[in-house]
């Protein structure tokens, strides 16, 4: 077996050193009834690389890769072009095969990356500080609510109908088990929520999404003030981080916590994971922040260095009193994020965001030209909602047969609701001919 360096003669000599008769003998603490005397018969034997590649390759071939056809899906996961440097760099063994940087002297690479990542996230969101990443945007959202509960010592969260329903569900699941109230609003496809009016003395936070899951853009400045006036926090969720290159950042609107999905930078679609949750907040809340943090310090020679810090909040030390049970971050995805953002820099990010928006504007204009199609929201970043004269789910399925991935039906996200709405996203990867093919196919099937 190519991964196992011990030879039979090694095993014999090591058993002799140990003084055991056989490897099985080393398992003598296992009750005999539960010990198996050989490989599990219902599973196959080992395979060579060639055979594994064939088997997994045949599975992969049964999926329609988004890059192999015009593709307009978003709703929390976006297909962007990732520079080849990113994937090359994250595969360096020194990054890929390192563990959590518990020994900072020989982990300054990972640690400096995390420090830079935290700074990038803080800058992008317009917040004071950020952590070293969470599992994904949805878990960031739920952790943000729990953090707001801790800070305000209140237990009621108000979740906007513009929040991605999966984020909502992760939060309400947490609410059910950890014991807080999550008030959810109906899908906000057409605007008109009065969130400020719902905030009361029990409210720990209001959670909004920016742009919303329907692609709508709101200015949350007034909402932030209303929340804070009543002792509640405003949590802003962002699922398309590229938007932060063009839109006024949540921090400038007064957000207390920003929970975001960072997949758009550096990370492929991956059928939904692994992704990288971003988490940023105001400086005054830093000790209530969940997750891993990297901080600057000095070494014995006085040189600047980095360490994991504030771990007294964590489960290693506080055990049942920890701010959360999380003990990993999304390290490699955060690295990919950070490298991509470093490559973009100020100009590149602004340009990329502007380009995404322009592509979406183009697409909206083309789709608006299709008979029977109505673009629902006038303002958006790179994703918007259209109203179709037929159920969107069927249209999407029909277009998929033609190898066009048309968007996400609202009814997939909100079962039973808004069957005629379709969420459509465009990014820098969509060409004019992609868009024309989509518009034309749509015209044909409607």
């Amino acid at each position: 077996m190519r991964y196992l360096p011990l030879t039979e003669s090694d095993r014999r000599s090591m058993l002799a050193t140990i003084g055991a008769a056989s490897v099985d003998d080393l398992f003598r603490d296992v009750p005999m009834a539960a010990r198996h005397s050989g490989p599990i018969p219902e599973l196959p034997g080992h395979m060579g690389e060639l055979e594994v590649e064939r088997l997994l390759g045949s599975m992969a071939a049964r999926n329609l890769a988004a890059g192999s056809c015009p593709s307009f899906l978003g709703a929390g996961s976006y297909r962007h072009h990732v520079p080849s440097t990113v994937d090359y760099m994250i595969q360096r063994g020194e990054f890929l095969t390192a563990y959590t940087p518990y020994q900072p002297e020989i982990s300054q690479g990972t640690l400096q990356v995390l420090f830079e990542f935290q700074t990038q996230v803080a800058l992008l969101t317009g917040m004071d500080v950020a952590n070293a990443s969470m599992y994904d945007g949805a878990t960031s959202c739920s952790e943000a609510v729990k953090m707001a509960n801790r800070i305000t010592r209140r237990k009621k969260a108000i979740l906007s109908g513009g929040l991605h329903p999966h984020y909502r569900d992760v939060t309400t699941t947490d609410a059910a088990f950890t014991g807080f109230d999550a008030v959810t609003l109906p899908p906000d496809a057409f605007g008109g929520e009065d969130l400020a009016g719902m905030v009361d003395a029990q409210t720990s936070c209001v959670v909004v999404q920016y742009p919303s899951v329907f692609g709508r853009i709101y200015d949350y400045t007034e909402l932030a003030k209303s929340c804070q006036a009543k002792g509640a926090l405003l949590i802003v969720v962002v699922t398309e981080a590229v938007s932060l290159g063009l839109l006024t950042p949540p921090g400038d609107m007064g957000a207390d916590i920003v929970a975001a999905e960072g997949q758009s930078f550096g990370n492929p679609l991956n059928f939904g994971g692994p992704y990288v949750g971003l988490f940023a907040c105001k400086e005054k809340y830093v000790r209530q922040m969940p997750g891993r943090l990297c901080g600057q310090t000095v070494d014995a020679d006085g040189k600047r260095g980095f360490v994991l810090t504030l771990s007294t909040r964590e489960q290693h030390i506080r055990r049942e009193k920890a701010t959360s049970n999380i003990c990993t971050n999304s390290g490699l995805c955060a690295l990919a994020f950070s490298i991509h953002v470093s490559l973009l820099g100020e100009e590149g990010l602004a340009g990329l965001a502007r380009l995404n928006h322009a592509k979406a504007v183009q697409l909206a204009e083309k789709l608006a030209g299709v008979k029977g199609v109505e673009v629902v929201n006038d303002a958006f970043f790179n994703e918007f909602t259209v109203k179709l004269p037929k159920p969107a789910a069927g249209v999407v399925e029909t277009l998929a047969q033609r190898r066009i991935l048309a968007g996400v039906p609202a009814s997939r996200l909100f079962p039973g609701e808004h069957p005629d709405l379709l969420l459509v996203a465009a990014t820098e990867t969509n060409t004019d001919s992609d868009m024309d093919a989509f518009a034309q196919a749509l015209a044909e099937v409607l």
């Binding site: 077996m1 991964y3 090694d10 050193t17 490897v23 398992f27 010990r35 490989p39 196959p44 080992h46 594994v52 071939a61 999926n63 890769a65 988004a66 709703a75 297909r79 063994g93 020194e94 990054f95 020994q103 002297e105 020989i106 982990s107 690479g109 400096q112 420090f115 700074t119 500080v129 950020a130 994904d136 949805a138 984020y167 992760v170 088990f177 709508r216 853009i217 932060l244 059928f271 994971g273 692994p274 990288v276 400086e283 830093v286 943090l293 901080g295 310090t297 014995a300 504030l310 489960q315 959360s324 049970n325 990993t328 390290g331 995805c333 690295l335 470093s342 100020e346 204009e365 958006f380």
Partner: protein
């Protein structure tokens, strides 16, 4: 050469990407203004490549040497798995594509589930959790959901051994349970009698790690399962150490109700400096109905992704934005297929053999608190350092200068100054012998009382010992332009 922060390498106007031309259309941003400066630095591509290359060179990694971090399981990460995860048919698939266009992805999830079930003997599995601790959460939520379903929501106590990973009590507490510690025997295992005494009608579950964090198999585990079940409670097993027994011992046959499996440990998906993980949870028949959404169901020839259950469904909610860590699933399945049943059998055997070999080679110069055989990791305490002025930490730091990553220190908490060593099955005998030679020399040197030498270690690293206290006292968590450098307030 020192490597500055990217922010210190900024030159405005420089950029590491070139973008296609911007279509000539206006903005449609509604009520929000385009933002002004972001504050990101401008670097060219060559600078970015060099920056991350240099940073990477400041890291230790499994590719470069032995990484015997007990309980963390740093084994070889095959590049085949990386290649497979990057097949466009897996990596370039959107989670919300129509089911008809992702049958291969769903088939892969189903196949992974099949392997996990076959390897544990358990009838059900959820792939949703994003990491081991997330799996613990999913498992404990299932237990609570099942208890509530049968009207026993009043059970509020969870028993956790003192040697447990910190995540165990943290998880139990997070979902509203009180944590009650179980003491250990002198042999480093759960005290069955003490456990029995703690059981009662208010106990929801026991959370046990097996093999435990001392690297020992819980000999009484079947009896433990029996008494726990007899008391109406569930048996949650922390599967972090499943790699010691995979293919050789079936958790189902031990009486376990739920167990998470760290794909990054047992099935070698890369740790990547701290994540991403992936923590599927296997369930007994009693818990099988209580899973989070989404999950994959086979419906004739087709695979269906159940994102929401209908009437009568017992799924208890959602853990994550999408369907789980697909990229990790591909890697783990690639690892499983590569090993096969025979390779996994051999791998767990070799992991245990390697650990026992280290134990045997070090036993005379270091002090083991418990008798062997151990499983995949061997535990020492700091009695051998008594009176030397050298601490467990000092030994670890000195080991760095010998070219090795240190073992896990000060965990588990049940022994004083723990040193927990896990070599894994992918280390050769030569590598173990080199490690033994280095560690024996340090142990012997410590006994000669050269404490100052130890305290000055490491010497040959990119940084020497770092001041963690200062970092925590006045946290600096981000770069800020001088002079208004932000420093988080106390």
């Amino acid at each position: 050469i020192e490597e500055p922060l990217i922010f210190e390498q900024d030159s405005p106007g420089r950029c590491g990407v070139d973008l296609p031309a911007l279509p000539d259309v206006g903005l449609r941003l509604g009520p929000v203004k385009p933002r002004g400066s972001i504050g990101l630095p401008g670097l060219s591509e060559p600078q970015v490549v060099r920056h991350y290359t240099r940073l990477s060179q400041k890291n230790y990694a499994i590719d470069a040497g032995l990484y015997p971090l007990g309980s963390c399981t740093m084994k070889h990460n095959p590049r085949l798995n990386e290649k497979m995860a990057r097949l466009p048919g897996f990596a370039d698939v959107h989670p919300l594509q129509p089911e008809s266009t992702v049958q291969g992805a769903l088939a892969l999830m189903d196949e992974l589930a099949h392997w996990l079930k076959a390897l544990t003997g358990m009838p059900a599995v959820t792939l949703a959790p994003a990491a081991g601790a997330h799996g613990e959460m999913a498992g404990m939520m299932a237990i609570r959901a099942a208890l509530e379903h049968r009207g026993e929501g009043a059970r509020k106590r969870v028993l956790v051994p003192e040697s447990a990973h910190g995540t165990n009590p943290a998880t139990a507490a997070a979902i509203g349970y009180s944590v009650d510690p179980i003491p250990a025997t002198a042999e480093g295992r759960v005290d069955l009698e003490a456990l029995k005494a703690k059981l009662g009608p208010d106990v929801a579950a026991i959370m046990l790690t097996n093999p435990n964090t001392c690297g020992l198999f819980e000999r009484d585990i079947i009896a433990i399962a029996e008494v726990v079940h007899a008391a109406g409670a569930f048996f949650y097993c922390d599967g972090a150490n499943f790699n010691a027994i995979v293919g050789r011992v079936m958790p189902a046959e031990l009486g376990i109700d739920a167990m998470h499996i760290n794909l990054h440990k047992t099935f070698s998906t890369p740790h990547g400096g701290g994540g991403p993980g992936s923590g599927p949870v296997v369930f007994s028949a009693a818990l099988a109905p209580f899973v989070p959404v989404p999950y994959v169901r086979k419906d004739g020839d087709r695979f269906v992704l159940v994102e929401r259950e209908g009437e009568g469904g017992t799924a208890y909610g959602r853990m994550k934005a999408f369907h789980g860590q697909m990229g990790m699933f591909v890697r783990a399945l690639s690892y499983m297929l590569s090993h096969g049943a025979d390779g996994l059998w051999q791998a767990s055997g070799d992991a245990v053999l390697n650990a026992n070999y280290l134990m045997a080679r070090l036993n005379d110069v270091m002090t083991a608190p418990f008798e062997g055989p151990c499983m995949h990791e061997c535990l020492f305490d700091d009695r051998f350092l008594k009176g030397t002025g050298v601490s467990t930490l000092d030994i670890a730091k000195a080991l760095i200068d010998e070219g090795f990553h240190p073992m896990t220190m000060y965990f588990p908490l049940v022994v004083h100054g723990a040193l927990l060593i896990e070599p894994t099955e992918t280390e050769s005998k030569d590598a173990l012998d080199q490690f033994v030679t280095a560690l024996r020399a340090l142990a012997e040197r410590a006994k000669t009382g050269d404490a100052a030498w130890f305290q000055a270690a490491p010497r040959f690293t990119p940084r020497r010992r770092l001041d963690e206290t200062a970092a925590a006292r006045k946290p600096v968590l981000r770069w800020a332009p001088e002079p208004e450098r932000l420093e988080a307030a106390e």
